[in-house]
Each structure stands twice: as structure tokens, then as C-alpha cells.
Amino acid sequence: MAPLESLDIELSEKHIETVGKFVADIRNNKLSGSEQIAEATLTLVEKIISESNATARELCGVLRAAARRISSSLPLELVAINMIRRVLRAIRDENRASVDQFQSGEGVGESLQGLVLATPARHSIVPSTDQDLREPIRDHIAELRTELETMRSSITSQAREHVRADEVLLTFGASALVERFLRPTQNRNCKVVVAEGTDVGESHAMARRLSNSGVSVTVINSSCVFAVMSRVNKVVVEVQAAMGGGAVLGDAGLHSVTLAAKYYKIPVVALAPLYRMLPHHLYDPQNFGSLSSPLQTMEYADCGSDSLQVLAPKFDFVPPDHITLFITNQGGSCPSYIYRLLSEIYDPKDYQI
């Protein structure tokens, strides 16, 4: 029995085609929104698994190869890779369980001392079994699907704990999740300040929908955030990715919002569904170096000179000390605890795909 890691399988022609179609769908905006992409990823994984050999070794190899392929063609698409990581974790757990059936290892974590001293079983090399793991994996994927479906409601149901009556809440940019999060507060007479992000139209549309649902909404430009921040009780934002150390990747401009909140010591609540957990430790936005079209910043006709350069970054990097609280679908957690959450949902071996 060969160990599970150190395995690099090339994808078969058939799988390359399936993955290629998935990538094309995302590129052509047939799949838009992270929830849809997460769902589609699960469907893709199911398809790949049903067409592969059944051993854990084979499955892991194929999925990792698919993930590599996706991330090389869509480096900014984090959700799909994260979902594959979660399936990989399930495969590894199933494999370990089936191995443990044969050779019952000593129990870990029975006492606090044991928890601290013992080398975690996961970190030891586990041999691959020859059992057919496809059926239990399908169950796991179904579980993940239900988790996706209930994600919104489980996050928005926590709004009651965090939003009090007569509070002024500030949010940045457009986000369906934040909109849901703020909506049930209407009976509490809350006021919402929407700071428009780079997607101005969507921010305005969100503000309008919120106001139609009875919330008192004030729309401001992102440059006014500092001026308004002194009157705000809480900042609620959705993040693009929550990273290992508790840092956050958000839409461009998020940093100046959280910085202002930090200046005024206003709590920042970051909404992060589990599929947004990224097991990386980035420290600089330039690492993600992604610029969008400068057209949204300045019309071409306004550029009077050829010496003019116009930059429009897509993402902003927010250090962990700006965030007070993460709200995931498993409940709240503070930034310093994110690493633990990551090791619960992913296998450390899959941090690097």
C-alpha cells in the first residue's frame, strides 16, 4: 500500500474536458456568484469521482490534479478549490477510518495531556486502503450540499445576536449575504449606511432593495466613510476570503473602511461562509496582483495625456487586527482562531494543491 501523499496523477482526457467546461462556464459568467460556483464544483467532483478508480489514493490524486488545473486557469477563483479541499478532507478521513478498522491505533485526545503531546494521527502517514470509498464520499458530498443550502440562513440567523435596536450599521459594497444579514433587523429600527464600493450600480441597487424592505438607508461614497464612521455602531462586510492568520481578502476599498473603523474603535463583523476559508498566509495585496479594467475608474476620453497611468485593483488586503469577529455558518469566531477552523475543515496536506 503506497502512502497517500507524493502522488501526482495526470488527468485523463475525459476529465480534462469536464474541467475545461467548468472553467469556461465560470469565465463566460454562466456561473456567477460564489454559491453557484460552489454547487457546480460539487457536481464536478461527483462526476470525476464516479468516473475514477475507487481507491483513496486514486481519488485524491485525480481531485488534486483537477484543482491544480482550475487554479492555474482561474487563479482568482478560490471557492472552487476550497470546495475540492473539503472533499479531499472527507476522502482522507474515510480512508483513515477504514484503515483504523484493521489496525486499531491508540486513542488520541482522551486527556488534555494526550491532546498536547500526541502526534496527531492525521499528520502520520496513513496507507491507502483498497476499499471502494465512492459511496461514503457521495454521502459526504450530499452533506456539503445541504450545508451550502443552509449557509445563508445559518449566517443571517446570527444577526439577532449581533445587531441591537437603534444601531447604525455601515456596510461596504454590494453583497447578497450582507443584504440578508441586515434585512431582518427592520423590526428593530436599524439604520444602515451603504458605502458604495467599486461596483457602484450594485451597491445602489442593494441600498434601494434594503430601503424598500423598510430599513432606513443612507448611501455615501467610499471617500466619506471616515467622516461618517464616528456615528456608526458596527461595520458589517462580506469578505472574499478569510485567511489563515485571520487576515481578509476583500473588495478594493475595504481596507480604508476597516482602517477608519479601527481608528474609531468600531467593531468590524466579517461574514465568511466556510467555502471562503483560504488556507494561505498572505501578507500583501500585491501578492494577489489583480487589476481590473480602469474604465470604471476613469473614462478613456478623460485621459488627457499618454503619460497618465490609471490603476484599478480588484482586491484589498485587510490585516487581522482590523477584524473583530468572523461569522461563519458554524458560528462566530475571532481572527486568531481561524487557523483552527481551517485545520478542521481541510487536511493540512491539501493546503498546497
Binding site: V200, V219, N221, S222, Q286
Partner: protein, 581 residues
């Protein structure tokens, strides 16, 4: 005369009326050929009528419908028609009186006034040609016919017009009212020239005008209280800042005030944001004051400084309604008043004007131009080759500094940050690019992204407060904060004439609300915010200024020295002892 009842056949009726009039005309012409002398007189009269006609036409459409229709007939016909018309108008008036119970009394009364005046003008003419009219008594029967038909026509037209009237916006109505007032004034003057019945006319006009004004005022206050009520529901935290943003400043300008034209012009420029930026506003104010002083005529038995002071007070009162004064303007006025008060009691008018004008010129030269040069040199010494200088928005001083540094041979890159809402940064960029400076533009949202590459941040200021806080365009504080987070030095370039002795702790104590419609996406006609006025839950807020706390600013560059911004009180005290302001 409810207009709803009028069936489509009304057009036929009008046609019939016109035909009847034509018939009347023909008859008159037949008569007049019998009497050549009479025709001459009538022609003269007709000329008079034509001359007086444009005045009537300059009034609104409602009047036209009543007055001009008959007039058009007048021009080519005789006295007879005039008489007939007058009768027609009277009957129209009576009809109106009946219908005056509804809410359009305002419009109707103005129409009435118009008619009265027309009558009065024509009465003058009547007096001179009474004999002519008498000779044509035999056509009275025809006139009666015409009379009947014209009443019908005018009633119909009026009905139609009234419907339109109700659909008109307030602005249009207001414009019409003004047009009417002007027409009335013109009519009055015309009437006074003809000294036939001045005493009788005068009261009718004078009585009417105040009535109308009362009504206008009433409706205005009603509107105001309505919007106030809405505002109270809407703006809770910044209600004290809110004045209804008026896109048409011309409406506010009093027509018959004794304001100097330069002041009125400046008022328009300020409220339409043609003149903006605290230096430009200060220079424009001083320039207007200069012109005002030059053209000031001292009333008899008045001390120069007192007379000018009261004139200045009324001018400033008007100016500050167009836009709140900024620190530089407040200081400039303080300076002007200081020198006005120092004039001796028995000063000669010419000397006084000369001293004041010289002082104004000196202030512009010393406090703005020379100070700007001194600041430019001081900042230039802080820029080194290879730097990247970040600046926010548009500031004339920063532009001067950067351009002069570039022309002095320094090699640096300028990074202009702007917000989507205000066009200032684009303007700054245009000016810098025109001078050949290498520039980068980013939106405010990208400040953190570019801050790593920045070596110095140079910001302009609208005012520097006694606690060291900087009042500047909204977004400046955010830029300063981002710079502080990455430990980049933040220099604020600020003339000492913008230092002011007030203390704000946040941007809500003192601010101005910009046009909320600026927040809407310009490229998108169907912006989701476009109906914010009808949605009480939705408020676009466009703040003009924000307050940067002193802890975010490394230093303030003034013409005196490079200071920590907590030294602002020192500068204020120094200026008090040095210049007395």
C-alpha cells in the same frame, strides 16, 4: 366653464368665430373707405396698437389666450373691435369670477390684473379718439355679434390653457409670475408716459401687486414647510447641515436690490460651484469687494465707514446665502472690516476708497501669492528625485508646488487620488498632465493598494482649525489615515490666511451637503437611486468636507515655517498681534 365639457367641435366654433370677425372687418373696411380722414386716424391707432402689443405678448400664455386673440383682430380693424374686445374681456372676467372658487385663483387673479392693465392702457387711447368711435355707432350690431363669439373663444382657450397650467411645474409657474411682474412694470411705465389718467391707474396697479406677492409668499412657505417636514423624517444626524440643494441659484437673486453686480455675479458663481477651492473663493470675494468699493456712492450725511459697512453687511448676507463662507473668506472679510473700521471719521471718500483698494490688493499679493511661493519652495525642498508624491483631489496650491518642483528639474511621479463623486481630481490631473508631469490616477478605493509605493503625501486644506485639525475635501482624512497606517509622511500645505479660530471634533459639526444627485451614476439613466426623493427610507448623502484629526498629520507647511499642526494657535496669536486680524 369647466374645460372637461368641451367637445372636439370646439375647433369648429373657433373657426366660426374667426369667420365672423373677418366679416366684421370687411364691414368696417367698407365703412372706412367712405371716410378717408377716418382711415388715417384708424391707421395711426393701429400702429399704436402694434406698438403696445409686444408688451402684452411678453406675458405668459394664459394672457395670450385671452388678450392676444382679440388683439390679432385689432391690428387690422378699427375702434369698433377694441370696444368689442373690451366687452369680451369683461364677460370673460365674469366667467372667471364664477369659476374662481377652485384652487387656481392665483393664476386667474393674475390674468385679471393683466386684463385690467390692458384696459387702462387702451382707455388712454380711447380718450383721444372718442369722436372716431362715435361716428361708427351704426356698426354696433356687428360688434355685438363679434362680442358674443369672442367670449366663447376666449372661454374655450382659457379652459384649455388652464388644464395645461395645472400640469406645469413650480419652476415654470414661478418664471411665469416673474414675467408677469415685469410685464406689469412695463405696462405701468407705458401708462405713466401717457398722462391721461395716471391717478386712476396707479392705485389699481399698486393694489394688485402686493396681493399677488402675498400669494406667492404663502405658497412658498407652504412648500418650504412641506420639505422641512420630509427632511425631519429623513435626516436625523445631519439635519442641521441640510439646506435644500438649489440647482438654480438665479432664483434667489433679488431683482431690485442695490447689490453690486459683481457681488451678484460672485453669488451665482459660488452657488453653482464655478468658483470653488478656498483660494479661488477668497480671491474672487476680494475682487468683488474691490469693485464694490470702487463703485460705492456715499449717501448724503453718512460717515463713509458706516455707510459702506451697512452696504457690505447686506452684500455679505446675500453671498452667504448662496454658499456658506469658508475660512479664507471669513478671514478676508475680517481683514476688510478691520481696515474699514480704522478709517478716520472725517476721511475723504476718494482717499478712503483708495486706501481700501490698496489694502485689498496688498492682501491678495502678500497673503496668497507670495505666501504660495514661499510654501512651494518649502515643499520643494522636501521632495527628492525618484519620489512618488500622492495627493488627493484638486488644490491650486498643490498644483503650483508640483509644477514648480517639476520645472526646477526634480524627477518624481505624481499619484492623484480622486473620488467618483467629485470631478476635482480629474481637473487636477488635466492641469498636471498639461504641464507634462508623469501621473498616475487611482480611485479612493485603491488608496491602500498604491500606498506602498508612495514616498510622501502632500495634501491641500480648506481650513486649519485652532486644535490643529484640517478641514478639507471629503476623503482627505481617509488618505491621511491610510498613509499613517503605512508610516508615510503626510504634509499639509496651507496658507496662514486659512487658519481659523474655531474647533470641530468631527465632520458633522460643520459641513456642507453637496448635490445628492452627484452620487447617482452618470452613465446610467436607470440608476437605482434616481427616485430617492420619493423614497423616504433612501438618502444619498454627499458630504463636501471632512475633518482630519491632528494626529494623522506629520506637518503643516505654511509660509511662516513647517510646523506641527498643533502649533495652529501660535500662528493665530501671531497673526493677531502682527496684523490685528
Amino acid at each position: 366653464m369647466s374645460s372637461n365639457e368641451i367637445p372636439p367641435k370646439s375647433r369648429d366654433e373657433i373657426k366660426a368665430a374667426r369667420q365672423a370677425k373677418k366679416a366684421a372687418k370687411l364691414k368696417v373696411n367698407n365703412k372706412t373707405t367712405e371716410n378717408p380722414q377716418l382711415t388715417k386716424e384708424i391707421e395711426n391707432l393701429n400702429e399704436n396698437n402694434i406698438n403696445s402689443k409686444p408688451k402684452v405678448e411678453s406675458t405668459d400664455e394664459v394672457d395670450k389666450s385671452v388678450v392676444i386673440n382679440p388683439n390679432a383682430v385689432d391690428i387690422s380693424t378699427s375702434r369698433e373691435q377694441i370696444k368689442a374686445d373690451r366687452a369680451a374681456k369683461k364677460s370673460a372676467k365674469q366667467l372667471k369670477k364664477k369659476g374662481a372658487a377652485d384652487g387656481e385663483s392665483n393664476v386667474q387673479s393674475s390674468v385679471k390684473k393683466e386684463l385690467k392693465e390692458d384696459d387702462s392702457v387702451k382707455q388712454n387711447e380711447d380718450m383721444t379718439v372718442k369722436d372716431v368711435v362715435e361716428t361708427l355707432k351704426n356698426i354696433v350690431s356687428v360688434a355685438k355679434e363679434v362680442n358674443e363669439i369672442t367670449t366663447k373663444v376666449s372661454a374655450l382657450d382659457l379652459g384649455g390653457k388652464k388644464q395645461e397650467e395645472t400640469g406645469k411645474s413650480k419652476a415654470e409657474l414661478r418664471a411665469e409670475r416673474r414675467a408677469k411682474q415685469e410685464a406689469q412694470r412695463a405696462a405701468k411705465q407705458a401708462a405713466e408716459k401717457k398722462v391721461v389718467k395716471p391717478k386712476l391707474e396707479a392705485p389699481t396697479v399698486n393694489v394688485d401687486v402686493p396681493k399677488k406677492e402675498e400669494k406667492v409668499i404663502k405658497s412658498k412657505t407652504l412648500e418650504k414647510s412641506k420639505t422641512k417636514l420630509q427632511l425631519a423624517q429623513r435626516f436625523n444626524w445631519f439635519q442641521h447641515l441640510y439646506t435644500e440643494f438649489d440647482k438654480n441659484p438665479l432664483k434667489k437673486i433679488p431683482i431690485n436690490s442695490n447689490l453690486h453686480p459683481a457681488i451678484v455675479k460672485l453669488g451665482v458663481q459660488l452657488s453653482s460651484r464655478v468658483v470653488k477651492g478656498s483660494n479661488a473663493r477668497c480671491i474672487a470675494l476680494l475682487d468683488a469687494l474691490n469693485k464694490m468699493v470702487r463703485d460705492y456712492v456715499l449717501p448724503a450725511k453718512t460717515e463713509f465707514s458706516r455707510g459702506l459697512e451697512s452696504h457690505l453687511a447686506s452684500s455679505l448676507e446675500f453671498l452667504w446665502t448662496t454658499r456658506e463662507p469658508c475660512a479664507s473668506q471669513i478671514n478676508a472679510v475680517k481683514f476688510f472690516r478691520h481696515h474699514l473700521a480704522q478709517l478716520p471719521n472725517n476721511v475723504d471718500e476718494f482717499d478712503a476708497k483708495k486706501t481700501l483698494q490698496e489694502e485689498i490688493d496688498r492682501y491678495i499679493r502678500e497673503q496668497i501669492e507670495m505666501a504660495g511661493e514661499a510654501i512651494s519652495i518649502a515643499v520643494r525642498n522636501k521632495i527628492s528625485n525618484g519620489d512618488t508624491i500622492l495627493t488627493y483631489g484638486c488644490s491650486s496650491l498643490i498644483e503650483q508646488i508640483l509644477c514648480e518642483a517639476w520645472e526646477a528639474g526634480l524627477q518624481f511621479r505624481t499619484l492623484v487620488v480622486g473620488s467618483r463623486v467629485s470631478p476635482d481630481a480629474a481637473e487636477m490631473l488635466r492641469r498636471l498632465c498639461a504641464r507634462g508631469l508623469p501621473c498616475t490616477y487611482v480611485d479612493f478605493t485603491a488608496v491602500n493598494y498604491v500606498m506602498k509605493t508612495v514616498s510622501k503625501v502632500v495634501l491641500g486644506a480648506g481650513a486649519l482649525l485652532a486644535n490643529g485639525a484640517v478641514v478639507s475635501a471629503a476623503g482627505t482624512a481617509g488618505v491621511a489615515l491610510a498613509a499613517r497606517a503605512r508610516n508615510r509622511p503626510v504634509l499639509v500645505a496651507c496658507h496662514t490666511h486659512k487658519f481659523i479660530d474655531s474647533l470641530y471634533t468631527d465632520a458633522f459639526m460643520h459641513n456642507q451637503i453637496g448635490d445628492p444627485d452627484d452620487l447617482l451614476e452618470k452613465s446610467d439613466d436607470n440608476s437605482p437611486l434616481k427616485d430617492w426623493r420619493s423614497n423616504l427610507n433612501l438618502t444619498p448623502l454627499n458630504l463636501t468636507y471632512d475633518v482630519t484629526p491632528p494626529c494623522l498629520i506629520t506637518a503643516v507647511v505654511t509660509e511662516l515655517a513647517i510646523l506641527p499642526c498643533t502649533s495652529a494657535p501660535v500662528v493665530l496669536r501671531f497673526k493677531l498681534s502682527e496684523y490685528g486680524v
